[in-house]
Structures are given as C-alpha cells and as structure tokens.
C-alpha cells in the first residue's frame, strides 16, 4: 500500500436553504488518494462529486459550509486552516482545472500572463523562468506553436487548446494534487481524444495525484486508477477501474454501465411504395447569417446545399462537431431562420421560408424541441400553463378538455400529475426535458426536430429519455429528426444518419454501416468515441493526416 497523499475522513458538507433549513449534501465521505494516483468521482448531477473535489481546496460554494470531517492534503488539514493559510496552498499545492476553460479565462488578458499568474502570486520563481516553464508545459501538452501561443488572447485559440492551456495554468506551480472538474465534457469527441492524451502524458510524466470529476464512465476508464461512484452525497461503490468496469456490484453503477449499451433500435420497415413521397424533403438548402454580400450570399454560410429526406415513421440523425451547421439546419427546417436558397417540402407542400409564412397547421405538424430545457421553458409559468397554451392555440379545446389532455400528456412522458403546479425551476433536468417534449407532443405533430435534447443530461437520464422517445414513436407513429454530437445516442434511435462537416453533408449512412464508414471525417468521428475499455486511448491509432485535416486542434 502506497502512502496516501490525500485523506478525506468522514467529510460532511451542509447547505442552508432559502428558508434557513440545513440540508446535508455530503454525508460522511471518506477516501484516499496515493501519490501519483488518479481517483475518479463519478455520479449523476447533484450527487456531490464537484462539491467533494472542491473541499480539497478548502472551498465550499456560497450557501454551503464544510460542517464536519477532515481533508488531509500532504499532512495538513485544509478544513482547519484559516483563509490566509488556504490561499497559500491553493494553486501551489493543489490546483484546479475547470469544466469550461472558455469561462475561466479572462478574455482581456494574454494567455501567458494568466498562466503564470499563480507563480507571481505565490512568488515561486522569477517571471522569465516561469515563462520558460510555461512554454515547456505547452510543449508537453502538445499545443501548437508552444513558443508563441501564450502571446494570444483566449478567443484566438480553439476550445480544446484552451482546455489544455487551463491545465498548463494548473500545473505551473508544481502542485501535488490536481482537481479535474469535467475538463472534456464541453468538447467534441474528436477534440476530446487529443486533450485526454495530453492530460494522460503530463500526469504520467510528473506523477501527479488527482481527482477527476466526470459523469462519463468511458472517459474516466482511460485516465483513472480507481473509481468512486457517488449518489446522494454518499459513496456507493469504490474500486480499481477494472473492478468497477467488470464486476460492478451496486445497482446504480450497473445502471451507469448499462447506459453505455443502449437497447438496439428496431429499424422501422421501409415502406417501399414507389409512388409515396417522403414526409419531409429538404432540397439543396443553404442557410447563412449576416448581411447579404455582393454575390448575393450571406456573410457567413453555415449550411451549404444540404439535401435530406425523412419518411413517415422513420428517424433521421444529423451528427457532426459543434459549428458544423447542424443546429442551423434544424432551425431552418423549423422556420426560425430563413434559408438563403433551396426548399423544404413537407407532406407534399412547399413550406414557407420562415414561420410567419407558414400556416398554423404546418407549424403544428412540425415541432422543434430545444437542447436546453432551462431556457426553453418560461420560468414564470407553471407546467400546466406551459402545456395548456399549444392545446388552446392549435386545437382550441375547452378548458375541461385541456385539463384532461394535460394529464394525458404528463402520463405519456412519465411525469407524475402532481407536478402540474410546479414551475420549471422546481424540476430536475430530466423532468424539465420531459415537459419540454410534452409541449411539442401537445401540438399533435407528425415530425419532431430534436436539437441535442439529451446533451445536457446524465447518461442514465438520457437513456431513459431516448427510451421514452422510442416508445412514443411506436404509440403515435411520429418521426424524429435527431440532432446530436453523440454518436451512440443517434445510433440508438435513428434509421438513417447524416454526417455533417463544415456546413456540408459529407455522408449518409445507416447504423448498420456505421462500423465501416466511407468518408474520412466519419471514420475519425466513429473512432473518437470513447469506449469502456481502459486500453482504448492507448491503443487508438488515428491517421494523423485525417486529424490534421478535420480538427483545428
């Protein structure tokens, strides 16, 4: 047994609610981290994984206090320290890599000055030496142009680069312990591969101990030595990575693992009736933003001549990295953006360029569900009022009929009827997304455009939502256009998949042929999806030519 660098003993964190009630959010957690060991904290949102990681810095979010227990880091109890003593340790002994590096960097200061700020505050070394060290770290994290990248501003580098720069910032003070707070969650899979590789190389070379917070078991499998599974502020299961992956005991852990093997999608029988037109036909659609240029094209073209078809009762997946134009395409189909060229035929009728030029029935039959249920539901209205409006607006139902229908809709999306009076802020993420979906169902649509609807959800909750969508499809004969950057989600629900890159459709495949894609970008995308196998990252071989061509890393 190696000596423990970090010992957390019977840690308790309390939160004070608005009415002054105390709630224990971490209930007596104990764990050890040895020198050079990475421990992953995994669990659904709200399970306390970030809260525990932050106690290593002696920090609790406002409204929360560390109410009991001890956090020994390198022989000193952080909980018992004064603020001044904590400040001396933070950044120097223990460092933090945030989830969103884009939000963590100050956009008005050059990257180099921010990276070496820790050294300046703790006066660890002269600035020139710090700069040289930062450049060495940039090189170790395989950043491009390590000599000059520090002279840029944060908006001048890509998301994946910024995440690695945040790691450099954390590493510059030679910390003994690093806290990774979901550092790759916001990245595309193709970018994630490179960032994970860089992290792993640096951690291995410097024998750094760390906590890796994530909800993605496959990512954790690549980087962690041990996994701690949390739920409701308590440790559910603890073991080496191989143990957890192969011999999970706890039901929640098994659920997490099961979320990785979604139930296979039963492909709807293709209705090979030659005369039957597809329900939705998008023809050579070009969508852009900004004022029209002299050649009559918009300033930024986000979608370039994309054509696709959706047949009745079948599902189309659109997949691609962020910025590939998939959401823009969805918005153009829904009538939020006016396409610049091309046309959309729905049920045999040409649709108007935007929502104003479409009839009420056309709008009703084609609904869109947005990614963020937080912003898609009016916070000032109750669930009942949210579902009530489309019923009154499209169907003109009586008050009594609407009330019955609302109950039916809540049943359909498996929400208890008691939630009717709640406001969106009083629901969980999964519940909000169900309400969001129920509102689209209230219109009795034929086609629902789902824009990344599972991306903000935990794996277990997302799987439940996907299963729900499949069930509703069987019952109601719906069709979906399913937009996602997550290949496994699209694979689980779609009959056809369109791969987009740089605003163009690069390939159209089916889940069956997903294993052998033709286009190099699809190949890269498919190979970048993390697998539960802990050796996946080390054995992954990607063609460097492809990587250079399709990733602005």
């Amino acid at each position: 047994m190696r000596e423990s660098l970090v010992q957390i003993r019977d840690l308790k964190v309390e939160a004070t609610t608005d009415s002054g009630r105390k709630v224990e959010i971490i209930r007596g957690v104990s764990l050890d981290i040895a020198v050079g060991e990475i421990v992953a904290l995994i669990g659904e949102s709200g399970s306390g994984k970030t809260t525990i990681a932050m106690t290593l810095l002696g920090y609790a979010r406002s409204g929360c206090t560390i109410s009991g227990g001890a956090v020994w880091v390198d022989g000193a109890d952080i909980v018992a320290m004064s603020e001044t003593e904590k400040a001396a340790v933070r950044g120097a002994k223990i460092a933090y890599v945030p989830q969103s590096a884009a939000a963590a960097f100050n956009p008005a200061i050059r990257i180099m000055d921010q990276v070496i700020e820790v050294v300046r505050i703790h006066q660890l070394m002269p600035p020139a030496e710090a700069r040289a060290k930062a450049v060495a770290l940039f090189r170790a994290l395989s950043l491009p142009d390590p000599e000059t990248i520090g002279d840029r501003y944060p908006h001048q580098v890509s998301g994946g680069q910024l995440q690695r720069l945040a790691a450099a910032m954390a590493l510059i003070g030679d910390p003994k312990v690093l806290i990774f707070d979901e550092p790759t969650t916001a990245l595309d899979v193709t970018t994630q591969v490179e960032v994970l590789r860089a992290f792993k190389a640096v951690i291995g070379a410097q024998r750094i101990a760390g906590i890796y917070v994530s909800h993605d078991l496959a990512v954790v499998a690549q980087i962690a030595d041990r996994i701690v599974v949390l739920k409701g502020g308590e440790v559910q299961e603890e073991g080496t990575t191989a143990d957890i992956l192969n011999h999970a005991q706890h039901p929640y852990t098994r659920q997490l693992l099961a979320a990785f093997a979604p139930s296979p999608h039963v492909v709807a029988p293709v209705m090979e009736t030659p005369g039957l037109k597809p329900m939705l036909e998008v023809h050579e659609l070009t969508v852009g933003y900004g004022p029209l240029q002299q050649d009559g094209r918009p300033l930024i073209v986000a979608v370039q001549s994309v054509s696709l078809k959706v047949a009745q009762g079948r599902n189309l997946g659109i997949i691609g990295e962020s910025g590939c134009g998939k959401s823009t395409l969805a918005r153009a189909i829904a009538g939020i953006l006016s396409p610049h060229a091309g046309g959309i035929v729905f049920n045999g009728h040409e649709l108007g360029r935007n929502a104003r030029k479409r009839t009420r029935d056309q709008l009703r039959e084609l609904q869109i569900v947005f990614q963020h249920a937080d912003t898609a539901l009016n916070p000032a209205k109750s669930v009942e009022d949210i579902l009530d409006r489309p019923l009154a607006f499209y169907h003109g139902m009586s008050r009594k009929a609407r009330s019955t229908r609302i109950d039916q809709l809540l049943d359909m999306v498996r929400l208890p009827r008691a939630l009717r009076q709640r406001r969106p802020a009083e629901l969980s993420g999964g519940q909000k997304q169900r309400v969001n979906f129920a509102r689209a169902l209230a219109a009795d649509p034929k086609l629902i455009v789902c824009d990344e609807i599972t991306s903000a959800l935990d794996a277990v909750v997302a799987t439940a939502v996907i299963d729900l969508l499949k069930e509703l499809q069987r019952e109601l004969g719906l069709s979906y256009i399913f937009i996602s950057h997550d290949l496994s989600v699209v694979e689980a629900i779609c009959d056809e998949i369109v791969v987009m890159y740089g605003g163009r459709k690069v390939e159209e495949i089916t889940p069956a042929t997903l294993a052998a894609p033709q286009h190099p970008y699809t190949q890269l995308l498919v190979s970048s999806v993390p697998k539960l196998d802990p050796t996946w990252l080390d054995t992954l071989r990607q063609d460097p030519e492809q990587v250079r061509a399709y990733c602005q890393r």
Binding site: T17, S19, R360, H372, T375, A376, N378
Partner: protein, 284 residues
C-alpha cells in the same frame, strides 16, 4: 446564506421573507397613501382659513405644526398637499411606465427598423434636460394639473422605455420565446405572456424609483412657482411659499420638506427591500 435571516414570522408563514426596513417603509408609504385619500375628512381647519394672528407661528396644542406665512394651519395644508403630490406623481408614473414598458417590449420583440426608429426618437427625447423641458411647456401652455401630469410622464417615458427594452432583449433571446414564435403566436401574446411575467419584478422596482424622481421634479417645479398653482398647494409649493420662514426656523418650512423626504426615502427603501419569495423545494 451568510446574512442573518431577518424575516418576520408573519411573512414566513406565507412563504415570503420580509425585512423590517421594508416593513417600516411600506408603513410610511401606506400612511401617505391613506392621507392622500382621506385628507378632506382629516383636516382640523379649512386650508384657506387664517386661524392664527401670528405668522410663522410655533407648534402649539391648537396648531400641531404651527402656522404659515399668512397664519394658516400648516398641518391641514400638508394633509391636503399630499393629495396633489401623491396623486399627480402616481398618475404621471403610471402613464410613463405603461407607455415606456409597452414600447420597450415591442421594440425588443420586433427588432430591426421599428426598434431603431423608436430607440433613436426616445434617445433624442431623453437628451432634453427635464427641468428645462417642463419649464418651457409650463411657460407655453400654462400650469394645470393635466398639463403637469402629461409633462412629467413624457419626461420619464424614455427612461422607462430604455430600461424595459434592455430587460426584454435578454428575455427575447431565450428559447421559450423562440418556441412561442414558431408556434405562430402574435406580438400581443409574446409581450403579455412570455416577456412581461419575466421582467415584472425589475420593472416594478424601476416604477418605484421613477415615482421618486417625479415627486422630486414636481416638488421642484412647485418650488419654482410653476407647479401646482394657488389656492391649491402641494408640498413643493408649501416649501416655496414659506421659504421666508427659514430664517426663523419656522415649522412651516421644515415639515413640508420632511414630508417630501419621508415619502421619497420610504419608496426607495421599500423597493430595495421588497419581500422575496422563499424557494425551498424539499420543505414540507
């Protein structure tokens, strides 16, 4: 929460946290509201009646707040003055905020050219100094209560518009507004059901602040002799007509000033300490 919970048991029962400062301020505001409503029944003397042989008389058993420059009862005159100060300001602030907020929301939702035209026009309006503008209007058409109300509201429409537009622009970018748009909803529904409920809190706070500005501007105008005209008098006019008593420390000039101060400060404190709803999901 680091701040000690200073809620009253009364508020907590209804799920609201009410601060003692807010409660006191609300009491003062309600007091002046009641006075404005019931002043004719409360006054001990008629406002025009000369009841004291002396002018700028001291506080006495008969004349609670002394007498003014003509020997009239200051207490009665302040009670009646509340009607003009509170009434005119309330009417003006209501017109200003209803017009400003509605226009602001329309501009935010519509965007484009209508937004630009409306915004530039109201920007031009707000660049005119408010005191100067009201002086010119009163000089041109004469001072009467309707003229005062309209002038004061026109002066404060651009501010209310700017404020509401800024709030509504933020709400307008939210997905739920987009959902309502692609549902095919009309402008009226978007404003009423999607935008307004989400900005009503700040808008009410702004309304309170604007009320204070209007009270002060109205009192200023009356002090200059351009506001409410004799024989009627609002608080500003009371200060104006009794300013000669300042040298004697007469209560006739001090108490109208205190009335203005107590109303404006209380409204300010009230909007800063509005009851906040206690949101506690798990509580029984």
């Amino acid at each position: 929460m680091t701040k000690p919970a200073s809620s009253t048991a009364f508020g907590a029962r209804f799920g609201y946290r009410i601060s003692p400062v807010g409660l006191t301020a609300a009491a003062v505001v309600l007091f002046w509201g009641a006075v404005a409503l019931f002043a004719p029944r409360l006054v001990p003397y008629s406002v025009g009646e000369i009841v004291d042989a002396d002018y700028f008389g001291p506080i006495s058993r008969e004349l609670w707040l002394g007498s003014d420059y003509l020997g009239r009862d200051v207490f009665s005159r302040i009670l009646m003055g509340a009607r003009y100060t509170v009434g005119i300001s309330l009417a003006a602030v209501a017109i200003a905020c209803i017009c400003g907020v509605t226009l602001g929301m329309i501009a935010a939702i519509t965007g484009g050219l209508p937004d630009t035209i409306l915004s530039r026009f109201l920007d031009a309006m707000s660049s005119i100094p408010s005191k100067l503008f009201s002086l010119v209007v009163v000089a041109a058409v004469g001072s009467s209560i309707p003229v005062l109300i309209i002038t004061l509201s026109v002066i404060y429409i651009p501010g209310a518009y700017r404020f509401a537009r800024a709030l509504a622009v933020n709400i307008n970018t939210m997905d739920f507004v987009m959902v309502a748009r692609v549902r095919g909803e009309s402008l009226g529904y978007l404003i009423r059901a999607e935008i307004l409920p989400n900005i009503v809190g700040p808008v009410l706070a702004d309304l309170g602040l604007r009320f204070v500005f209007i009270v002060l501007l109205l009192s200023g105008l009356s002090f200059l002799g351009l506001g409410v005209q004799p024989p009627y008098a609002d608080w500003g006019a009371l200060v104006h007509e009794n300013i000669g008593g300042l040298a004697f420390g007469a209560p006739a000039v001090i108490f109208p000033s205190l009335a203005i101060a107590s109303l404006t400060i209380s409204v300010n404190l009230l909007i800063d300490n509005l009851p906040t709803k206690i949101r506690d999901r798990g509580a029984a």
